[in-house]
């Protein structure tokens, strides 16, 4: 809230600092390197997205505890499957942190079904969650400036686009190509800008929030 405090005594400033509606930025506890394959059907529309999300070392260690049932020091895909299941089921509430739509057009966005083909890999240091998100309706990338965003608005998870094999178009029509922009992170200027967004923005569909969000990783699908 804007109290217009500059002229008020320091006490007031400090107290209002404590009282002010605060940044909702939780600090991240999980870091993810994200790789995405954009899947196309034969008609040239996007039919789904296949993610491979690699977790940071600490979260990986936390997540796998107690799962090595045969105590052989290795984690098989079978041993990890219950965790993979919990992972994808829990992601539902967060819209899989994946938003597909046309930039600047709030009404056009893709709706994902429950994930399929999900499993976890553990390389001894990091876990990678693989899963495919089918779309309920194929999404024609030519209907506008199509973009996919991967991010966590609550910032519990810090998503980064991976350095290698970041985005791949699978079965895409000739002339389609991906482009991507990395999230810039919450620098103070960005945060201040975000602060101008009225609070009721939270009530908007996440798809819209996603496309207006500054701290998002944006993958554009350009079909010329």
């Amino acid at each position: 809230m804007q109290l217009g405090l500059p002229s008020a005594p320091a006490t007031v400033l400090v107290i209002s600092l404590l009282l002010a509606p605060t940044v909702g930025i939780a600090h991240p506890h999980v870091w993810v390197d994200s790789r995405s394959d954009i899947l196309f059907n034969d008609a040239g529309s996007i039919s789904g997205i296949r993610h491979a999300w690699t977790f940071d070392e600490m979260f990986s260690a936390y997540a796998i505890q107690g799962l090595d049932e045969d105590n052989d020091g290795k984690l098989s895909r079978e041993e990890l499957q219950p965790l993979a299941q919990v992972n994808v089921e829990s992601l539902y509430e967060y819209d899989y942190f994946t938003f597909l739509g046309v930039i600047g057009v709030d009404e056009i966005y893709g709706v994902f079904q429950d994930p399929v083909d999900y499993w976890l890999d553990y390389d001894g240091v990091r876990l990678t969650l693989n899963f495919t998100l089918p779309l309920t309706e194929p999404f024609d990338p030519k209907q506008g400036e199509t973009a996919i965003e991967v991010y966590d608005p609550t910032y519990f998870i810090d998503f980064q686009l991976a350095e290698t094999d970041t985005v791949m178009l699978v079965n895409a029509p000739r002339g389609c190509a991906p482009q991507f922009e990395r999230a810039e992170g919450f620098d103070p200027a960005t945060a201040a800008m975000l602060a101008q967004i009225p609070p009721d923005v939270t009530d908007l569909p996440p798809e819209i929030l996603g496309l207006t969000e500054i701290n998002a990783n944006t993958i554009r699908v350009i079909c010329g």
Binding site: M1, V23, H27, V30, G66, V86, G185, A195, T202
Partner: protein, 352 residues
Amino acid sequence: MTRTDHRRLIVAIVLTAVAMALAPEIASAASPFGVARPEASVAVQSGPLAGMFAWIAAKQSAFYQGLSGLVTAFKTDGTAAWALIGLSFLYGLFHAAGPGHGKVVITSYLVATGETLRRGVVLAFMSAFAQAMTAIALVTVMTVLLSATSFAMTRATGLVEIASYALIALIGAALVYRKGAALLARVPVFGPQTAAAGGPAHGHVHVGQAHGHHHHDHAVARGHVHGPDCGHSHGPDPADLTGPFSLSRAWTAVLAVGLRPCSGAIIVLVFAFAQGVYGIGIAAALAMAAGTGMAVGLLAGIAVGAHGFAARMADSGNGWAAAGLQAAEFLAALAVFGFGLLLLGGALQGGI
């Protein structure tokens, strides 16, 4: 401070109460990957200090990421321990400096109860260390002794969290009852004798020291009321001032806040155990608590100072100020109660 300043304080408190009433619901605490619980938070940021909090969040995030590398380094290089402990301390410090429910609750509690500066700082450190001990106990039992899965660990954390929030709500309810009675006593109809007005009831108020739990839940922070000016402390019971620290009362608050372990500390502990260096994980968790205790102790000092100011106003014979102080203490009590309920509701909604 001038009288105008005083009025501004009152305005700030009232606006804060309004903001609190309008605050969006706290996001449910369900975990995105089903393991590890995020802190309650709201998704949209606002307020003139958004930039500062963003900076704090970024620092904290950087420190946290540095921890894993240092734990790994410690396996081969013992001197990494000092860097790890130093970084953990900074992480705790910045963690507590961000907005958070714990700080809100503690600060409000201190304003309502009128603890002294020294006691406030002690409370800040005790609750921070209680939090670290909860994390260490959880990981030692669940991970080290039982080889529990992360699902079980997450459920256990959730249960402890709910207990913590319920306790906060209970403490708040008790404070509301006491402060409400004191306020009513001011009204001639209710007051047995006008003398009550001075309000022994609220104890002396030195404003709050927030103790620290580090709240990780940022978000909530929006409105709490700990009003600076609440306190009136005039005339507290002498026994209160000189008597022994009310340990039983303080312990409840310490427990309420300290029960809720920090996800960051838990993850670092589990990671250290997985790396075969659990001891250094414990050292890191304690260093985080020291940092958190320091940050919240500072806030506590500020709150105590503001409260003391208001109390002097009240003492100067300004009946209006005395009433305001009492009202503010009541608001602070309401804040503790309200946040307890909000957090509890959010945690229950998020499931265990």
